[in-house]
């Protein structure tokens, strides 16, 4: 089983990236032996729909669960449709998040944790009027 963690860097000691759709990297971790693949998130610079693009990538890499800080509505819909479990509200290192997951300390979320464009910083998303 593979799980996906949004991360700010390419190894397990990196901090978990609180944004899902516009995180720096995705780490696909096998919790059994802690081996992982780091994939740069192409959606980071998407003109729009970063959440849906990221979700497609995560699903395409065969992840069964996502550990992140926040998930917006579109990403949530796509991940949910792909049957991927979503865990939000995480912070700290990728390693620590995976350990928590392994111990069964995390609860899946059943709704998006933020509104659209929350990961864009000031100014809103590409499609916004102002």
């Amino acid at each position: 089983m593979k799980i996906c963690v949004s991360a700010t860097g390419a190894d397990l000691s990196a901090s978990l990236d609180p944004r899902f759709g516009r995180c720096r990297m995705f780490l696909f971790v096998d919790p059994e032996n802690m081996t992982f693949d780091a994939v740069t998130n192409p959606a980071l610079s998407a003109d729009g729909g970063a959440g849906t693009q990221a979700a497609q990538l995560v699903a395409g890499n065969g992840a069964r669960a996502v550990l992140t800080g926040n998930v917006g509505p579109n990403a949530f819909t796509a991940l949910d449709a792909a049957g991927i479990e979503i865990y939000t509200g995480l912070s700290g290192s990728v390693q620590a998040a995976v350990e928590q997951f392994k111990k069964g300390e995390l609860q899946t979320t059943s709704s998006p944790s933020v509104e659209s464009h929350a990961g864009m910083g000031r100014g809103g998303g590409a499609g916004k009027g102002r």
């Binding site: 959606a43 998407a46 003109d47 729009g48 729909g49 970063a50 959440g51 849906t52 693009q53 979700a55 497609q56 699903a59 579109n74 819909t77 796509a78 449709a81 792909a82 659209s116 998303g125 590409a126 499609g127 916004k128 009027g129 102002r130």
Partner: protein, 290 residues
């Protein structure tokens, strides 16, 4: 002649200027292109005669024909289509209606249908032909409605377009083919900062422009210095006047509160039409010499 009224910063007085200009000229056409929050109607109080829905074409995927090749999702610049294994998800509010997915689909599994995102209303306010676009609440994409409003511009009339604030797509869509754009600012550091952005935008898309300074008398002289340095015409200074603000809050146009302003707006129009006339002559001469 088409004149847009825009600004980098919101709340500088675009509607004050565009409404007053229209009322000072009489028989013009007015397009409220601030479709996310059109408010010129509060001042014109027009009788709306017709309402036209505005839609964009969004794809519909026939799951029976789809081979899940992902070509559509790879093509979509806005990630409105997602292919997850044998599922295709569409996010209609991300779709810009370009039709690329329909075109690229090798299985011809995609058809298009119209999704309504807002309306155009048309009516009359005295001699003024009034048109406003209204984007449905929750819809993110204003340009298709603005484009539809612009398409109704009467070539035989002076057309005044009230633009949305800022410098993003809806503003570009409003001002892209006007003859002149009035940039409204206020004499404050914030006003100057956003005026600068608006000026850069107009230069980038080659739209002739000049500046109206609203609330003249507050703030500092940095806007004036900036315009002098950049050789930008200041067309009009509207003095700060509490009565104008109070009138605005009651839906009374500035030219009704301070009737002397009418003459100023008529002069403003004359200046702009002379500038545009000169530009056309230059263009013609340039063309001839080539």
């Amino acid at each position: 002649m088409k004149i847009a009224v825009a600004s980098g910063k919101g709340g500088t007085g675009k509607t004050t200027v565009s409404v007053s200009l229209a009322l000072s000229l009489g028989s013009v056409q007015f397009l409220d292109c601030d479709v996310e929050e059109p408010n010129a109607a509060l001042f014109f109080k027009p009788k709306i005669g017709e309402e036209l829905p505005v839609g964009i074409s969004v794809p519909e995927v026939n799951e029976k024909l789809c081979s899940h090749c992902k070509k559509c999702s790879e093509l979509c610049a806005f990630n409105a289509l997602v292919v997850l294994g044998t599922k295709v998800l569409l996010f209609p509010e991300l779709c810009h209606g370009c039709g690329g997915c329909t075109y690229i689909c090798p299985e011809k599994a995609i058809t298009e249908h119209d999704r309504t995102i807002g309306v155009i209303q048309r009516g009359a306010a005295g001699p003024i032909d009034f048109i406003q676009g209204i984007l449905n609440v929750g819809e993110p994409m204003a340009p298709p409605i603005i484009a539809r409003a612009r398409a109704m511009a009467d070539p035989k009339k002076t057309v005044i377009l009230d633009a949305p604030p800022g410098t993003s797509c809806p503003v570009i869509e409003t001002v892209r083919d006007v003859d002149y754009c009035i940039l409204v600012t206020e004499p404050t550091p914030f006003g100057l900062h956003d005026l600068h952005l608006a000026v850069e935008t107009m230069r980038q898309i080659s739209v002739p422009f000049g500046v109206v300074v609203n609330c003249w008398g507050i703030g500092n002289d940095a806007v004036e210095k900036y315009c002098a340095r950049e050789q930008i015409d200041i067309l009009l200074k509207i003095p700060w006047d509490r009565a104008i603000a109070e009138g605005y809050s009651r839906g009374e146009p500035a030219v009704s509160v301070v009737p002397e302003l009418k003459k100023e707006f008529q002069k403003l129009y004359t200046t702009i039409s002379q500038t545009c006339h000169k530009a056309r002559i230059h263009e013609a001469v340039d063309h001839y010499q080539r």
